[in-house]
């Protein structure tokens, strides 16, 4: 992926025309927003945050500081104590990455109203392809303006937009808000200091989207270290780095720095991926006359439920979990979450609003903790599913069962994770355990490996197939271990099956306890499995069906597998 554009000049010449939208000092903005919300909730007077000095700490180090704090001498990288000493009156906030990410979805959603599909690089920075949206908006300048307007209008924050070939140039151009002409990205990048690499839009493994690389978990290059190294080698600008031959960079520094080199040349390792963020759904109403009687609740509930329903229908979603939040005169918020096995219809929602309001009003009347009259009711759908999967079938009722089941399975997965519900996918194989794979429900299915599979077992097949095959020993009448010879013959007729160690519980239940031997009543001829004989990792194995006499004199049929002279049990016919 990384070297492909470098190798083919035709592809290298074409980096995607990219728009970068950045919100400067995003972590600081997000932390301030959270702080302000907290103050509002406590009804405390909001201070003038624009003028007051603000310091943002992450892991006890200053990461961002407001202008007033910077003027007072606070610098990123300071400890809390040093920063406090420099600016004692500053408001100190802790960074919250999750909140930053969640809040940035609002910006992403705002940009998504202008151009379909954005790629959030990290909280504060998003990329998208420029070509289509620019043509639609009538030019790149117009597109940038529309984005600035949309973000300001929908979220209230100021953002910066840069457009260039490739993500890195676009990102750097967004600072001064420039549009770099087509094919001029390398020139635009060249004079920038090598320090600019610190904000490079690099892929997984570099903390991109907060995820460590799956491929090389142990080696995560630190960008700051890399920049430092390059500087010590005398590479002062991006132009210097771009001038190096790419093969030499890859040889000397490895693939990660080769990616940076690629970016410095104004190319891109991968085009921006498109994703569609959604505005959070919310239906809310403020009551002009506070709610004090139960029967009033019903009147309010219906329009609110209908409003939510309209929102959901518009997006083609159904809601299976709903949070109802009420705010009382005293500023207190009470909430309750409702689950529903099916999709919540208008009537269901109305019922739940009424029940909940009834409960509160009754509690207030009975002299519970004084809540005051309800002044605002909000509905927050928490668990949404595409309606398409729950829509009734075109005819008949078979859709209903599938609908009910899919909701139950979604619920189970929501409770206990994706692995909690698995579906079998026939993939093909010689061994019973390989023939059918288990995949999490609704995940991508592996492709079926087409056979033929010589040596696969004919019916009937064992109903129990051990995931961890228990080791066993087979002995002939003289007490010698039975092996399968190269000519696919048994060295002797097996007479005893010994289970040396406690294995699967299924084996215990069937009556084959560990540490004892069982008489073999009948056995088949060995069937040889020549697995991948054409490859180096090919193995030979042999299968043997056995009927043994269990502890309770019951006949137990098992399927034994011999590999390199060692016997295991593949399955149990139970």
């Amino acid at each position: 992926m990384m070297s492909a554009p470098a190798l083919t000049p035709a592809a290298a010449a074409r980096a995607t025309r990219t728009v970068a939208v950045t919100v400067p000092e995003w972590p600081l903005l997000a932390a301030l927003d959270r702080h302000q919300r907290r103050l509002e909730a406590e009804d405390a007077p909001a201070p003038d945050l624009a003028a007051d000095p603000v310091i943002l700490l992450d892991l006890h180090r200053v990461t961002h500081a407001g202008t007033a704090a910077l003027d007072a001498g606070v610098r990123p990288g300071m400890t809390r104590r040093a920063a406090r000493a420099a600016c004692p009156e500053a408001l100190v906030l802790e960074a919250d990455r999750e909140h930053e990410t969640a809040l940035f979805e609002l910006v992403a959603a705002a940009v998504d109203t202008i151009a379909a599909g954005v790629d959030v690089l990290r909280p504060g920075v998003l990329l998208m392809s420029a070509r289509g949206p620019a043509r639609h908006q009538g030019g790149e300048g117009a597109l940038a303006e529309r984005i600035l307007d949309a973000v300001a209008e929908l979220t209230g924050w100021d953002c910066a937009v840069g457009i260039a070939d490739g993500p890195f140039a676009a990102l750097l151009a967004s600072g001064p808000g420039r549009i770099v002409r087509e094919g001029r990205s390398a020139e635009y990048l060249a004079p920038h200091s090598i320090q600019a690499l610190r904000s490079a839009p690099v892929g997984p493994g570099w903390g991109h989207r907060g995820q460590p690389s799956a491929a090389r978990p142990e080696r995560r290059l630190d960008l700051a270290e890399t920049v430092d190294l390059l500087q010590r080698l005398g590479i002062g600008t991006l132009g210097d780095l771009a001038a190096l031959p790419s093969a030499a960079v890859a040889d000397r520094f490895g693939p990660d720095v080769a990616t940076l080199h690629l970016l410095a040349r104004g190319l891109e390792p991968a085009p921006p991926a498109a994703h569609h963020p959604t505005q959070p759904l919310l239906a809310e109403t403020t009551l002009e006359t506070p709610l004090v009687r139960t029967d009033q609740a019903a009147f309010i509930a219906r329009p609110l439920a209908e409003q939510l329903h309209a929102l959901l229908v518009e997006r083609g979603l159904v809601c299976t979990r709903l949070r109802i939040v009420a705010r009382t005169e005293g500023g207190e918020e009470t909430e309750r979450t409702w689950r529903h096995d099916g999709a919540l219809t208008v009537a269901d929602v109305v019922d739940r609003i009424r029940w909940q309001c009834d409960g509160w009003i009754t509690r207030a009347r009975l002299g519970g903790p004084a809540t005051g009259a309800i002044t605002r009711i909000g509905l927050h759908p928490l668990q949404l599913a595409p309606a398409g999967e729950n829509a009734p079938a075109l005819w008949g009722s078979a859709g209903e069962a599938a609908q009910r089941a899919s909701r139950a399975l979604a619920r189970a997965q929501g409770l206990a994770g994706e692995e909690a519900v698995q579906v079998p996918v026939p993939v093909g194989g010689r061994l019973l355990a390989d023939e059918v794979a288990l995949m999490p429900w609704r995940s991508e299915r592996p492709a079926r490996r087409e056979g033929p599979w010589p040596g696969s077992l004919p019916r009937p097949v064992p109903a129990t197939v051990f995931r961890v095959p228990p080791a066993v020993q087979l002995e002939d009448a003289a007490g010698r271990p039975v092996v399968v010879t190269a000519r696919a013959l048994l060295s002797g007729a097996p007479t005893r099956l010994i289970v040396p160690a406690p294995g699967a519980p299924a084996l215990q239940r069937a009556g084959l306890r560990a540490g004892s031997g069982y008489q073999v009543l009948a056995h088949s001829a060995p069937v040889v499995l020549d697995e991948r004989w054409w490859a180096r990792d090919g193995r030979r194995a042999a299968r043997l069906q056995l009927v043994v006499q269990g502890a309770s004199t019951e006949e137990i049929a098992v399927l034994a597998l011999s590999r390199a002279g060692e016997w295991t049990l593949e399955g149990l016919y139970d």
């Binding site: 009722s397 859709g399 399975l409 579906v423 023939e435 048994l490 519980p505 088949s524 016919y573």
Partner: protein, 264 residues
């Protein structure tokens, strides 16, 4: 009089329409289309056996086992416990029959289930879900499954608490879910006990496993004393079959078996 005729006519038309639709569905299914199986039910019995007869919805059981069950079928929302040998195969064949052509089946707590044998038994992999149900959330996951699927199979490795078992039964009863459990910690509506009578087909160094005779005893609600049936499980096509009569069993020593179609 007139209305009766009209109804008859309507029912006839409905069954004709279903037959036509079924034919279309079958041809669509052949080409891998998603199909709705209600239309596939044979038109000979327009009112299926899963009909409501005042005693709740009845679910079919494998034909050789019908004698074991009160009224020859299972009530949706009831529970069956299985004990003794062959519990896995028996669970699968009961689940296949009860799931029929429309309901979903969830299997919990059977980590060592042979998936190919489940498919050979006739379970539709498109309507089958397996839940390991081993985490902290096990009670919630199992109750969610009991709410949603038509047949819930609980394996012997689950090690359920008696309280959870009772609450699952309550949920299943309200949601009309059939619960099939191997060695449950409490009472079930019906208990099947199987004893293996021996395998046939395998010699000393020759042959292959062909069939096993099972003697199944049922007792519980609706069964006076106990009832017994003898079946073959598994046999060469992987499914449950009645024990053939003595005359038909006397076959020539060598016989070519008809080719067995693999399950898709």
């Amino acid at each position: 009089m007139g209305t009766a005729l009209q109804i008859e006519d309507r029912e006839e038309r409905l069954s004709r329409a279903r037959a036509a639709l079924g034919a279309a569905e079958r041809s669509a299914a052949r080409w891998g289309g998603r199909i709705d199986r209600t239309a596939l039910q044979p038109s000979a019995r327009p009112v299926s056996e899963a009909a409501d007869d005042g005693l709740g919805t009845r679910l079919p059981v494998p034909e050789p086992l019908q004698a074991l069950f009160p009224r020859g079928s299972l009530r949706a929302g009831s529970s069956v416990a299985l004990e003794g040998a062959a519990s896995t195969s028996l669970l699968l064949s009961l689940a296949v029959a009860a799931a029929g052509e429309g309901s979903w089946c969830a299997i919990a707590g059977m980590p060592d289930l042979g998936l190919r044998s489940a498919m050979d038994a006739g379970l539709d992999p498109c309507r089958l879900a397996l839940a390991p149900a081993d985490g902290e959330q096990r009670p919630q996951v199992l109750s969610a499954l009991a709410d949603g699927v038509g047949v819930l199979v609980l394996g012997p490795d689950l090690d359920l608490a008696p309280a959870l078992w009772r609450s699952l039964l309550g949920r299943a009863r309200t949601a009309d879910t059939l619960v099939l459990a191997a060695a449950p910690p409490g009472r079930a509506d019906l208990t099947l006990r199987a004893a293996a009578q021996g395998w046939s087909g395998l010699g000393r160094g020759s042959g292959r496993l062909r069939r096993r005779r099972l003697e199944i005893t049922a007792e519980g609600r609706g069964v006076a004393g106990h009832r017994t049936a003898e079946v073959l499980l598994p046999q060469v096509d992987g499914m449950l079959a009645a024990v053939p009569s003595a005359a038909s069993e006397r076959r020539p020593a060598m016989q070519l078996l008809p080719s067995v179609r693999r399950a898709g």
